[in-house]
């Protein structure tokens, strides 16, 4: 149902790994479910993580992503289902015997140890020789750009520095899988961008599988090989960042990843869809005749034209300058569309809009239909609030 050319969204670089060889599965979750106090946190999820993969679990708070991570780490035991590591069931293996390490959300550095001793912690447990410890700690410090910080008190480091110590501490044992629980959540934007690049580089260089939990969709798109979108304890979609962005499976994914106009439509026939009172050509097929569907159109894929020359006609209700483009809210048949355009249009003016066939993506109806995708109550402020109220599940 989706054969169309890839539309590169602006400002996001994707890592295209479609031609890479398939690596061996290292972590597998099979039909894993978990409830706390009768509340379902994970609803029978299945997930395969491969060697050398950078996988991101993405979703809003309470979606079960952190619980999934904690199940892999061994801090949470699933109610049903199996956790496999290297094809061995590890449900009952305690965390201290698992070959995974974790970078915790708020670092959880040992306050009684300095930078060097925090990083050396795992090696000391294994009775590694003093020279070997020194060599490897120095290597780690070099990797996270903290040379010369050996004797520092971890309580006096900045957030970014503590973060680096936490990464070095988790990596020194050469785990097969590194789990990262919103590791950049507490850092400011600039630092977060730098650390994203650094983490990605570290992952490439070491070849360690990263399982990364975040609620930040941009972070997920820019760093991952595979994105797993989660909501309400279920996996909504697994795919490459390009897949997730261009071919969202349902209204939830379309709304959560980037901006989307999600409109009610009817699939008339293969390659023909009707919405907003107009018939469009599209690239999707395989639906029943006259099947109701959700239609996704990304704001950057809508062209603004003169009133008479468009496929649809609408009234501009607001225009906001965003730097790279204008964000235009247009009312078309009582549905508020968001359009991103580099051209300015007058508010209250009637405009025409034109949509190319490859800009239309058709999705099956789901439980999330009609919940998202209308910009009538849209405000930047709310968006920001919903981004920052993230804590922990």
């Amino acid at each position: 149902m989706n054969e169309k050319k890839i539309i590169e969204p602006k400002g996001v670089t994707f890592v295209d790994n479609s031609e890479e060889v398939q690596y061996k599965k290292i972590v597998q979750l099979k039909n894993v479910a978990k409830s706390f106090d009768g509340e379902i946190i994970l609803d029978h999820i299945n997930l395969d993580v491969h060697e050398k993969e950078f996988m991101t679990l993405l979703g809003p708070s309470g979606c079960g992503k952190t619980t999934t991570l904690r199940i892999i780490a061994g801090f949470v035991t699933p109610d049903t289902g199996d956790v496999m590591f290297d094809d061995v069931k590890i449900n009952d293996v305690p965390p201290y015997k698992r070959h995974v390490n974790t970078v915790f959300q708020k670092y959880a550095l040992f306050p009684h140890l300095n930078v060097y001793e925090n990083i050396a912690f795992a090696l000391r447990l294994n009775k590694v020789s003093e020279e070997e410890i020194y060599k490897r700690v120095e290597e780690m410090l070099a990797m996270v750009n903290l040379r010369g910080f050996e004797k520092r008190d971890v309580n006096l480091l900045s957030g970014g520095q503590q973060q680096r110590v936490a990464i070095a501490r988790a990596l020194i044992n050469n785990p097969k899988v590194l789990l990262l629980d919103e590791p950049l959540g507490a850092l400011d934007l600039k630092l977060r961008k730098d650390m994203q690049n650094e983490l990605k580089n570290i992952q490439r260089r070491t070849g360690i599988t990263f399982i990364y939990v975040t609620h930040d969709q941009e972070e997920a798109l820019s760093m991952s090989d595979t994105v797993v979108v989660m909501a309400d304890g279920k996996i909504q979609q697994i795919g490459t960042p390009t897949d997730i962005y261009n071919e969202p499976q349902n209204a939830f994914v379309a709304d959560f990843i980037g901006e989307s106009n999600i409109i009610d439509g009817v699939m008339l026939d293969d390659y023909r869809v009707r919405f907003s009172g107009h018939e469009f050509e599209c690239l999707d097929k395989g639906f029943d005749k006259n099947e109701p569907v959700d239609v996704v159109v990304r704001p950057e894929d809508v062209d603004v034209v003169e009133e008479g020359k468009g496929m649809l006609v609408g009234t501009v209700t607001s225009v906001t300058f965003k730097g790279v483009h204008y964000e235009i809210i247009v009312s078309i048949k009582d549905f508020k569309w968001m359009i991103q355009s580099t051209d300015y249009v007058e508010p209250n003016k009637k405009i025409g809009i034109y949509i190319e066939p490859d800009a239309i993506h058709i999705m099956k109806k789901s439980e999330y239909s009609n919940m998202f995708g209308d910009y009538s109550s849209f405000s930047d402020e709310l968006e920001r609030l919903s981004d920052t109220t993230e804590e922990d599940e």
Binding site: T102, F104, F110, H112
Partner: protein, 275 residues
């Protein structure tokens, strides 16, 4: 100076008066009696007479008993406090209440109860007799005295330990487990160093009452094991030698101050030590 700070100063006066009347003044009296003879003349003879072998023995015994009681309390209390600190906040409140519950009973009654338990034909030995075990002589032994100390002062070890441990970030336990620590290693590598200030407070709060107790040794030791507390009590109650009694109190105080200074040295920057 504004009104507020005057008020604030005034608030301190009752305590200052209290401190002078009941802390500073008695200390001066103790020092006065310790360094004077019956006629009130200055002398070192009271202090010097404590160098006698019989007194040295009492001091040494007191230190040994108090030391043993403190070590036993620490060994028992540490895992208990660790266990309690890992339970839910509600369970913690209940468990700590249960730990302090015996303290609601009068100290004398608790000690008398131990006499009843430990006597040669007491409750424990009667029970042992029932299951065919020869009675064990327990009362009036060092074992009974130290047991009494441990029993009475154990909560003073558990509470400061628990209060420090319950403040340790639970994520540190996860971090330790994640890096390869089993629960025992976590206790030694993470909990122990982070609970040092609680250990110091606990030791202080058990050692000081243990070294100066007199009642426990009289009732459970049958008067066979004179401790400093007993000797001091006798000087005031029976011998009416206030000067010698004061001299002993004075030396005991110095002993306690020295042990505390040693402990503080090891607690270094941790702070928060109750002394």
């Amino acid at each position: 100076m504004n009104k507020k700070s005057i008020l604030r100063q005034a608030a301190a006066y009752p305590h200052i008066v209290w401190a002078i009347l009941f802390i500073i003044a008695p200390l001066i009296f103790v020092a006065y009696y310790a360094f004077t003879d019956k006629e009130g003349n200055f002398t070192f003879s009271n202090i010097a007479s404590l160098a006698e072998a019989s007194y040295l023995e009492v001091f040494l015994r007191s230190v040994c008993f108090a030391f043993l009681a403190t070590v036993i309390c620490l060994v028992i209390a540490y895992p208990v406090a660790y266990f309690i600190s890992r339970t839910s906040p509600k369970a913690q409140r209940i468990l700590i209440m249960l730990i302090t519950l015996p303290q609601w009973l009068n100290f004398l009654i608790r000690t008398y109860s131990w006499m009843a338990l430990l006597e040669d034909n007491g409750i424990i030995n009667s029970f042992l007799g029932l299951i065919g075990i020869e009675p064990i002589h327990m009362i009036n032994t060092p074992f009974a005295v130290i047991l009494g100390m441990v029993y009475n002062f154990l909560p003073y070890m558990i509470i400061p330990l628990h209060s420090v441990m319950s403040k340790i970030d639970p994520r540190l336990y996860e971090a330790a487990a994640d890096l390869g620590c089993n629960p025992i290693k976590t206790m030694f590598k993470v909990v122990f160093p982070l609970s040092r200030s609680g250990i110091i407070s606990g030791i202080t709060m058990v050692f000081v009452p243990s070294i100066s107790t007199f009642y426990i040794s009289q009732k459970l030791g049958g008067g066979n094991f004179d401790l400093i507390g007993d000797t001091i009590e006798r000087q005031f109650q029976t011998a009416y030698n206030y000067n010698l009694g004061a001299a002993m109190s004075f030396v005991l105080m110095i002993l306690i101050i020295i042990s505390m200074a040693i402990m503080n040295k090891y607690s270094d920057e941790d702070g928060g030590v109750i002394v």
